[in-house]
């Protein structure tokens, strides 16, 4: 997917840049990928009828200081038998969230396999975040936070333990991803960088600058 640039007006009338990023959710079935993304998008745990919406594909924006990041979130099937299909989903993605369940050690092993695969096959500039979900179940924890933290540091991943149920670190996780994504216009427009909007582009052609808002 190509990211696209645009502009948005802030309340004070100044213009923000808008970045579009494709984010893919990976992880074993049942680790709470859908709940995590629903919490991020809807802001509440889905105990209501309204929650019966599709969680397979969602979009959500995150406002940074001078940039609005619009995430396009693609869910994937976590079952082992569908593993081979994942490359179709993470192709062109600028960010990936690999989710595991802290109360299930196997899901962490699977998560590490996902990370390995992403590092090998996805775009080299992809931002990968590791999310230890169901942090509210710390009493039955099987994956120690230190192990996960250490693994994330070794592999250059963003890491947070999250809980969709108690809304722990959900917004923070996506905000951290948004901050880490490249936003300069100097890169290729197909690798998740910003593009100025059209009128900006026309103006900048005369100025010889790039990505000003």
């Amino acid at each position: 997917m190509a990211s696209r640039g645009g502009s948005a007006h802030r309340a004070n009338g100044s213009r923000d840049k808008i970045c579009h990023f494709k984010l893919v959710l990976l992880g074993e079935s049942g680790v709470g990928k859908s709940c995590l993304v629903l919490r991020f998008v809807k802001g509440e745990y889905s105990d209501h009828l309204e929650a019966t919406i599709g969680a397979a594909f969602l979009t959500q924006t995150v406002n940074l200081d001078d940039t609005t990041v619009k995430f396009e979130i693609w869910d994937t099937a976590g079952q082992e038998r569908y593993h081979s299909l994942a490359p179709m989903y993470y192709r062109g993605a600028q960010a990936a969230v690999v989710v595991y369940d802290i109360s299930d050690g196997d899901t962490f092993v699977r998560a590490k396999n996902w990370v390995k695969e992403l590092q090998r096959q996805a775009s080299p500039s992809i931002v990968i975040a590791l999310a230890g979900n169901k942090a509210d179940l710390k009493d039955i924890r099987k994956v120690h936070i230190e192990d996960a933290q250490s693994y994330a540091e070794d592999n250059g991943l963003l890491f947070m333990e999250t809980s969709a149920k108690s809304d722990q670190n959900v917004q923070e996780l996506f905000l951290a991803i948004a901050n880490k994504l490249p936003k300069s216009a100097s890169g290729s427009p197909r690798t998740g960088t910003l593009e100025p909007n059209v009128s900006d582009r026309m103006r900048q052609q005369g100025n010889g600058g790039c990505c000003k808002s």
Partner: protein, 628 residues
């Protein structure tokens, strides 16, 4: 080559067919004669009609040029020979037709002149006859026709003389120049005569009736009848002569333009031009000398210009302005087919009124195509399907770049523009394009055949469902072994399973029938964007149905954990697999084919969002089926 059932000629497979296709297009287009072209009656009237005519003309030029560019250089002499033979044969046959119809029209004209000379004094002396006003009107119309014919002939002889002069200078005379000049002089004298006679008749109509009370001649009825009969026959003979003359001008123009194109390619140039005006002549004959200057414009230059046009669409008024889309469409059509566009200086005018613009394009436009369509170093395409593919790649590069940065501002408009081009492009190339994927699709079909037995008896549980199996079993009960084998064997051998939308089992049909209908429509539409829109619609309907089912299941179980009813990919993918397995395998093969086409043909801005996710998930489901 026979035209398609809908009257649209397909691309030629060999050189001989080329001329027949061009002939078919010629007959169907305004190049032939305004009264002969077949503008579809269901289409809206002008200015859409003018756009349609313009497209027909472009297709005519396109049909002539494309085969040239797909030929190897060593094949060009044989094309030249074939061209010579065809043109000589055609021109000699046209000459014979022209001579016959001209002789007939000359004979009829002499008879009519005689009758007119008898009739005029009677009419002039008997204006109180009940019919004089009618006769005067007829005579006036007749003389007006004479005048128009004379003017038209003078213009025709002028153009033909210019063309012949060049041919004579290059050592290949086709017509007698002296004869042409004599004919032109004759037409000029007819013009003078008709204008003089017309002034007499016009002066009569303005005179007072009382001044001319005279008895009516007995010869009037017979002379009037003869006069009217001759006039009608003469009109037909003239039409016929004009028709053959126009065809000859076209044949000569095609010959000259193609000779130039072949010579250019033989000389090693990577471009070839085709310069034939909407009237069948050469632009260089139609345009005034001052406008003969032609400026080369590269793709990128044109793209920038179109970008500027699309930027205008950011204003609400422009967004609603259909002519903007049409302008963009007209500018991009040659761009997507050609590496170079040659435009006369008059074309640089910005956005004239639609009518003026169309006429301007008609008169002043000629274009060139690159021989190598992807890059200067790549070899020319070996066949039409390959050529179509390469053309689309180029088209895709340009439009995708454009749409990418416009998508955020006005997706609707961008899609509208994209659809315009797709309709134009796939109008010409849809069949050859799909054939490009047939071999890959064959593998999928074979795999499906191998898997047929195991797939057909697949229990839902084998698809790693995350939701209670009871829900799935109620929808997809296990099939009996024998029935499933029969179903798959028959379906794979029936290539025409898409004549009607496939039907699901009654329980499933109620919930997922609209999904299957959308998929069926998707396989039958032509433009990829339409396909993608239908695929996305099918996907969203699937999600909605699944969500409702899950909610119902939860309520039946007395659960209030409604978040479990959210549809994630963990549920969606197995459901799609199970659902698709209910469809005839031949239909699945078609879906696979169209998914391949969409993956290649959709611009990047459509590979994102709902469109992209739907396509990826459908493609994934079909992959699962082929790998079961």
């Amino acid at each position: 080559m026979a035209p398609h059932e809908d009257g649209e000629p397909s691309c030629p497979d060999n050189l001989h067919d080329l001329f027949e296709v061009a002939e078919t297009l010629f007959r169907a287009s305004p190049l032939c004669s305004p009264s002969h072209h077949h503008y579809p009656s269901s289409h809206p009237p002008s200015p859409h009609r003018e756009d349609w005519e313009h497209q027909m003309w472009l297709r005519f030029l396109h049909t002539l040029l494309l085969p040239l560019l797909t030929l190897q250089r060593e094949d060009l002499p044989s094309l030249q020979l074939s061209l010579d033979n065809y043109c000589n044969h055609t021109i000699s046959s046209l000459d014979s037709n022209i001579a016959q119809s001209t002789a007939l029209s000359q004979q009829l004209k002499e008879e009519l002149d005689t009758v007119r000379s008898s009739l005029l004094p009677i009419v002039v002396s008997s204006p109180i006859h009940p019919h004089p006003p009618l006769l005067l009107s007829l005579l006036n119309a007749d003389l007006k026709q004479m005048e128009d014919d004379a003017r038209s002939k003078i213009a025709y002889y002028s153009r033909t003389l210019a063309l012949q002069s060049r041919l004579t200078a290059s050592g290949s005379p086709v017509m007698n120049l002296d004869r042409l000049q004599a004919d032109k002089r004759l037409a000029e004298s007819h013009l003078t005569t008709s204008m003089e006679m017309k002034s007499v008749v016009l002066s009569l109509t303005s005179q007072s009736v009382e001044d001319h009370l005279q008895p009516v001649s007995d010869d009037l009825p017979e002379l009037t009848s003869r006069y009217l009969g001759l006039q009608e026959r003469l009109g037909e003979a003239r039409d016929s002569a004009n028709h053959w003359s126009r065809k000859k001008v076209l044949a000569l123009s095609v010959r000259e333009a193609m000779e130039q194109a072949v010579a250019s390619l033989q000389a090693g140039h990577v471009t070839a031009g085709m310069d034939i005006s909407m009237h069948g002549g050469r632009s260089t004959d139609v345009l005034p000398e001052a406008s003969h200057y032609q400026a080369k414009e590269e793709f990128t230059t044109l793209s920038e210009r179109v970008k500027q046009l699309l930027d205008m669409a950011h204003s609400p008024a422009a967004r609603l302005h259909n002519s903007l889309v049409q302008t963009v469409q007209m500018k991009w059509f040659p761009a997507m087919c050609n590496g170079f566009v040659v435009i006369s200086s008059d074309m640089t005018r910005t956005l004239p009124s639609p009518r003026t613009r169309t006429q301007s394009w008609r008169r002043h436009f000629s274009f060139k195509k690159t021989r190598t369509m992807t890059s200067p170093s790549s070899p020319p395409p070996s066949n039409m399907a390959e050529a179509g593919k390469l053309l689309h790649i180029r088209f895709q590069e340009i439009v995708s770049a454009l749409c990418d940065h416009l998508a955020d501002h006005d997706t609707g408009f961008t899609q509208q523009v994209w659809l315009c081009y797709e309709n134009l492009f796939f109008d010409n190339f849809s069949s050859s394009f799909l054939s490009h994927y047939q071999s890959e699709n064959q593998k999928f079909c074979e795999q499906l055949r191998v898997n047929a037995l195991s797939v057909s008896v697949l229990p839902p549980s084998s698809l790693s469902l995350t939701t209670p199996e009871t829900m799935w079993l109620s929808l997809f009960p296990p099939r009996s072994f024998g029935d499933a084998t029969l179903l798959y064997t028959q379906s794979l051998e029936d290539p025409d399973v898409t004549s009607e939308p496939p039907q699901l089992a009654p329980g499933l049909q109620a919930k997922f029938g609209p999904v299957v209908t959308d998929l069926y429509c998707m396989a039958r539409t032509r433009a990829p964007l339409h396909k993608l829109q239908l695929l996305t619609s099918a996907f969203r309907k699937t999600m909605a149905s699944l969500s409702a089912l899950k909610l119902q299941s939860l309520l039946e179980e007395g659960s209030t954990d409604f978040h479990l009813a959210g549809v994630s990919c963990d549920d969606l993918l197995p459901l799609l697999v199970l659902l698709l397995l209910q469809l005839p395998p031949a239909f699945l093969c078609q879906l696979w084919l169209h998914c391949l086409l969409l993956e290649d043909c959709c611009p990047t801005f459509l590979q994102a969002g709902w469109h992209g996710y739907s396509l990826t998930t459908f493609r994934s489901s079909l992959t699962v089926i082929s790998e079961l």
